[in-house]
Symmetry: C2
Subunit: 404 residues, 2 copies
């Protein structure tokens, strides 16, 4: 709730205090209206209808660009399950290309009966499917134990949208899959010519070639005008700016499935084609930079699994000694962010709050110790999904604990 | 699909032709890249991660402001069911107020045990509910038969969001409803001091006081920082900029429930408190200004009902002589826009396409003739939900037929 109390007892949110300190577009402090808002809005005619509805100047919200190649969704600022399109995380290997949809085509070739090329408009003529699901980068930032411990949430490389497009199975049926075609190479038209190999079974199952996100055209950072969507699989397999699909009898062994996006295991082997996102949950509220007061709060967060529905989320408010079942917000869709909540009365003493997801296959979100026992200390930071939480300090401040 | 063919056979969308004609930010015409997009985007490093993901310059989309008091959602440009927040329709009686959330409070008083006032932050501490549903203005623009016949869709006063807030039942339990309290007056803090009377049964059923829309804070035009949400009821009962709830033993008979938002009936009586939105459907694709070619298309649209789930949508491609069941896109949520689709092969002859929704109560969307028979010719334009469609001309152009 990020509330703090001023000396005269007036409730103020930390956000407003920060906004006022930063000289924001408008902010109230100690009951004083700074600018842009009316003390009594019923006395003044409001603004006229507009072509686009802007955000309130009191609600500035942004993604966090990091290291020139990603920007993180501010999950700690969001409710519900839909990520507004302009806040969907982005991750790219050579920047966001600017593509003219009138020139863009999708080529299907290789082990098919009829090589075909479709324009974007032609793809929109096929029967469409709309589906709500998350996309999570398998590198959704996770510091290895002991490296460092930032105060804020570090898991903003997962976002959710309602996607619309054509089933890839429809396009494969049009082209005619030849015997022996067991993989598809999917290739983007960015400067990295990003490509991944996809087993044909997934292509024929729930894969989509999407052109719309939350009702409107894809945003450029999410692959405009076309992206592959592989529900539940690691994000970079959902190739953005999709231009080519080649049916083959073996994986292409591209850079992104050999030197990257693989996991060294404890026994010296390398785990490759680890496509599925395993169950995970995070607490988004209360969360840094909120400062809480003793009393009732709702612990809220999101849970997700690439294998199906979230079946259960447990929350601990005593650092993992005891666990309670949180309420799941319906509809709990498969391969989708699912909201959970648990009312909690904070005593004012320091403690730690944690969450743990179980999906419908029975898979339980592991501890960091369990992950490291399986993969060894040299494991690259892909597919890290340990139980995490927040250290609640006596002063009401929160510190993210990425190691659970 | 709004495709057209240039003389050399290259597929071009009408949108690009129009954009090029208008000297838009970027457009391709006859294979020539005008500006802003690369002919081969793989040759150029793309743009870096950004705080907010902008739309493609090729996808300008806006609401349509009309008459200084509304702006319409461009339903004919959208897929799926979620309306991006900046495209949610707006309707207000004295403009959009600019409200400082740190100063805004909600008062509950009248026939309650304990009059209470909550700040926005205090409301966020209660257990929350997230729900996806439509809001439709009961005046969702409908020209009376014969008045005029615009070429475009005229039903953009319905939009859908994922809303998050606190159940009104929770707040009523906190305040303690006294015997005899059968209505709640809900009042906004805009310059119109917009108010409506709500039966206590609805308040205790599925009413919410919401603060978030599609994950983020409400937009000002949708009631920031607080709005009442009455799922399935006419839009103006979902009071925006909510500041006061007064429990009473009778409706307040405010302007918006006496001189407005009532329907004269054929027998001379006036229908009042006609809260529920009855089942309706519209075809959003193909739709003006698209120009279609003979061949396969998917007829797509949305259907909704304020009484529950959409059970069935039928589509006619021969002006109503025969009807086929469209496919409903799941999950079909109650009181929510639901997508339907039907593949259709257009012969190139002029015809008319129509849609008809049935909800889970068995209610069937009526014809205009049926509505006028019940209400008489003097009926005000509220709660008009007749079957509508598109006249498909031989040249592939489409004209909205608001009278079915």
């Amino acid at each position: 709730m990020s509330t703090t109390r001023s000396k005269d007892g007036h409730l103020l949110s930390r956000r407003h205090v920060l906004a006022a300190a930063a000289g924001g577009a408008g902010a109230s402090l100690l009951g004083m209206t700074v600018k842009g808002a009316e003390a009594d809005p019923t006395r003044v005619q409001g603004s006229a209808p507009s072509p686009l509805g802007a955000r309130s100047p009191f609600e500035q919200i942004e993604r966090k660009p990091v290291a020139g190649v990603v920007s993180l969704t501010p999950l700690e600022r969001l409710e519900g399950t839909i990520t507004p399109a302009d806040l969907h995380f982005e991750r790219h290997h050579a920047g966001v290309p600017r593509i003219d949809p009138g020139l863009h085509t999708l080529l299907m070739h290789g082990l098919v009966e009829r090589p075909l090329t479709w324009s974007v408009d032609e793809l929109k003529r096929f029967p469409s499917v709309t589906r709500t699901c998350f996309i999570e980068c398998s590198g959704n930032y996770f510091p290895r134990a002991g490296e460092f411990s930032p105060p804020h949430l570090v898991c903003g490389l997962t976002s959710q949208s309602e996607w619309t497009g054509v089933p890839l199975a429809t396009l494969l049926r049009e082209a005619g899959v030849r015997r022996g075609a067991s993989w598809l190479l999917a290739e983007g038209s960015d400067a990295a010519v990003m490509s991944r190999s996809i087993p044909i079974e997934k292509a024929l199952d729930d894969a989509l070639v999407v052109y719309a996100q939350n009702g409107e055209a894809l945003r450029p950072a999410q692959g405009y005008p076309l992206r592959l969507l592989l529900p539940g699989w690691e994000g970079n397999t959902s190739i953005k700016w999709l231009r080519r699909l080649e049916a083959t009898d073996a994986p292409a062994m591209s850079r992104e499935e050999t030197s990257k996006y693989t996991e060294p295991m404890r026994n010296g082997s390398i785990r490759q084609f680890s496509f599925e996102i395993e169950a995970r949950s995070i607490i988004t509220h209360p969360a840094y930079p909120a400062v809480i007061e003793p009393g009732w709060h709702e612990i809220r967060g999101i849970a997700w699994s690439g294998r199906g529905r979230v079946a259960r989320v447990e929350v601990s408010t005593d650092g993992g000694r005891t666990w309670m079942d949180a309420t799941l917000q319906g509809p709990a869709l498969p391969k989708a962010h699912t909201r959970f909540g648990l009312p909690w009365k904070w005593s004012g003493e320091s403690t730690e709050i944690l969450s743990r997801a179980t999906d419908e296959t029975g898979y339980v979100q592991p501890t960091l110790k369990q992950i490291l026992a399986a993969r060894g200390p040299g494991s690259a930071p892909y597919h890290f999904n340990p139980i995490t939480g927040w250290r609640v300090q006596r002063d009401g401040e929160l510190r993210f604990n990425p190691t659970g």
